[in-house]
């Protein structure tokens, strides 16, 4: 399920997601032979293939009309890691296949389109790359020597300290 410009489409589909980390043109090889990537951000591209139900071609036609509108962009709500991602992007082209049956019946199938994001979903900050300039550390605001944390997939959760016989925190 996804939505375009606030209209939700509950149509069977395959969604392929690509995260592209783009760097600017100022990137290049440095004298120490390392490569300087001036990362601008992470751009999420979605490719969607619909599997329309022959019984509900009305929704399919409506989606086709919406996607083929001559506009420079849409707002999308797309599946993202158990949640949704709000994305502004454009659809450069859409395609599908018209199938003519021997008995005279016909239907459209296999519509496919790609959403090109207008901007990055994740952006580094200038002070982050210049001032900090060092390995990111977890945002554990009450750090003390010996604290331990457990990664629950979203956050580091502090766990109680305990010392063993040699008095070293593990």
């Amino acid at each position: 399920m996804f939505s375009i410009d606030g209209i939700t489409w509950d149509i069977p589909c395959d969604i392929t997601r690509t995260a592209e980390i783009k760097a600017s043109d100022i990137s290049g090889m440095l004298m120490d032979r390392s490569y300087f990537y001036d990362v601008l951000g992470t751009y999420m591209q979605y490719e969607i293939s619909l599997i329309p139900s022959p019984q509900d071609m009305g929704a399919y036609y409506a989606l086709w009309e919406q996607l083929s509108a001559p506009v420079d962009g849409h707002t999308f709500s797309l599946p993202y890691n158990g949640s949704t991602l709000e994305l502004t992007g454009r659809v450069d082209s859409i395609s599908d296949v018209y199938v003519r049956m021997p008995n005279g019946g016909a239907y459209w199938k296999g519509v496919r389109f790609t959403i090109e994001p207008n901007g990055p979903t994740k952006e580094p900050t200038l002070d982050g790359v210049i001032v900090r300039g060092r390995s990111p550390l977890p945002d554990v605001v009450t750090q003390q020597v010996g604290d331990t944390y457990t990664w629950n997939g979203t956050d580091w959760i502090e766990t109680p300290n305990y010392d063993n016989a040699d008095n070293i925190a593990y």
Partner: protein
């Protein structure tokens, strides 16, 4: 980057200054420059395309900032053209160009304070402009002696700066700065320099020559009329001229004579002629020019003296006359260096050590005698599926570079360890926390 535009409106009988920020910028172009030897005062400018339907008034102030609120330029709008619907191409420059439109009368100066004379040049173009520029305090005792014919305020300012050894910095500050040439060199790190700098050699200059002028008052009109050069100078001044020169001792045999001569700049006198010749020699006798690209987030600016690596085993030093910037998240600049000289370097090896074992090594080729202070990085290593972040015990590796090279050892502690979804904090002193929680998992 973003741009701040200022405009004034009359509201209730008062003038109110408004400002608005624009961050949808495209195609920024910015290549500030200085003339280190004040033979001219180049005008700095930038251009940028702004995605907006707003209109801009020519001559209003604009400021260009990076995303850390660092000021790159505080200029005036020179032109603002709509290049397509919803896009304005804005070109802005400094007010220095307008000094060209102000004329200053001929004047004889006798130990005139240089600051007063600079004030007069700028006031000729912009009355009550003291908030628009700063004169470095080192010029407070500098004086100017000699004659200036009727000329534009920009030319007068050029003469004065040539006489006292000043230059005009127009970018990276909210005022124009008039400063002396600074001989303190800043190192452009090897790992901030793009592969690879280029050097070009101009023609040999075999000699620099200037004429110094000495003015005295004629005792009578007859004496004034008898003076050969009196046609150039108003009554009662008569002039004696004396040529001074420096010869380039580095020129190989057989190189044809090529003399650079400054004549008829009447602010050159016996008091400043040696300093002027030395500055000219530093420029014209070092015929090498270097072009190098580096990551430059406002650290290396026109007018600065820098040291840079040409390759793994050679260093040069020189003055930045122009920095042509390209912008991404960070900024990259192509620097043009003049007055370039080779300097002796040696290899600094820094061993980053934890519990007697080396976890990282870095090498820097630095000038001999250079007092280095290199930030010790946090080091991220994974061993047998355990990830460690090591924290340095000291913030910087410091010392003075010795001939033949030297090695420095920096001790580390484990700051953090993560394995199997667990994270242990061992040492937090000096640790700067961030939001990169996804990195350790």
């Amino acid at each position: 980057m973003y741009l701040t535009y200022y405009w004034a409106e009359e509201e209730g009988g008062e003038i109110v200054i408004h400002e608005k920020n624009y961050d949808d910028l495209k195609n920024p172009s910015f290549a500030p420059e200085v003339d280190l030897y004040a033979l001219s005062i180049p005008v700095n400018q930038f251009s940028v395309d702004i995605v907006t339907t707003d209109s801009f008034s020519v001559h209003n102030a604009v400021e260009l900032y990076d995303d850390m609120d660092g000021l790159w330029a505080s200029f005036r709008i020179k032109s603002a053209d709509q290049i397509q619907p919803g896009v304005v191409r804005l070109v802005a420059d400094t007010w220095i160009a307008d000094l060209e439109h102000a004329t200053m009368d001929a004047e004889m100066y006798e130990a005139e304070p240089a600051g007063d004379l600079i004030d007069a040049c700028i006031e000729a173009g912009f009355p009550n402009a003291t908030h628009m520029y700063e004169i470095d305090s080192s010029f407070s005792s500098a004086t100017v002696t000699g004659y200036c014919p009727e000329q534009t305020a920009r030319e007068r300012l050029t003469w004065v700066l040539f006489a006292i050894g000043g230059m005009v910095k127009q970018s990276f500050a909210d005022v124009v700065q008039i400063v002396p040439i600074d001989d303190t060199a800043t190192l452009i790190p090897y790992d901030k320099t793009f592969y690879r700098p280029a050097i070009s050699n101009g023609e040999w200059v075999t000699e620099v020559k200037v004429t110094a002028f000495s003015f005295t008052e004629a005792s009578s009109q007859a004496e004034w009329e008898a003076d050969d050069s009196s046609y150039r100078f108003p009554l009662p001044w008569v002039c004696e001229e004396q040529d001074f020169s420096l010869t380039n001792s580095d020129v190989p045999d057989g190189v044809p004579e090529n003399v650079v001569e400054i004549g008829e700049l009447y602010l050159i006198n016996s008091g400043n002629v040696n300093a002027i010749l030395n500055r000219m020699a530093a420029y014209y006798f070092n015929r090498a020019e270097v072009s190098l690209d580096c990551i430059n987030n406002r650290q290396f600016l026109p007018g600065d003296k820098v040291t840079a690596s040409m390759d793994e085993e050679s260093l040069i030093t020189g003055y930045i006359t122009q920095a042509s910037f390209q912008f991404g998240l960070q900024a990259r600049s192509t620097l043009k260096l003049i007055g370039v000289e080779d300097i002796t370097g040696a290899m600094l090896t820094i061993n980053y050590v934890y519990s007697g074992g080396r976890i990282k090594q870095a090498k820097y080729f630095l000038p001999v005698g250079y007092a280095f202070s290199i930030e010790n990085p946090f080091i991220d290593r994974t061993y047998q599926e355990r990830r460690f972040i090591y924290a340095p015990q000291t913030e910087n590796a410091t010392g003075t570079m010795t001939a033949g090279g030297m090695t420095v050892t920096v001790e580390y502690d484990i700051a953090l360890e993560s394995y199997g979804g667990n994270l242990i904090v061992y040492s937090v002193d000096g640790v700067e926390t961030g939001s990169g929680v996804g990195v350790i998992s």
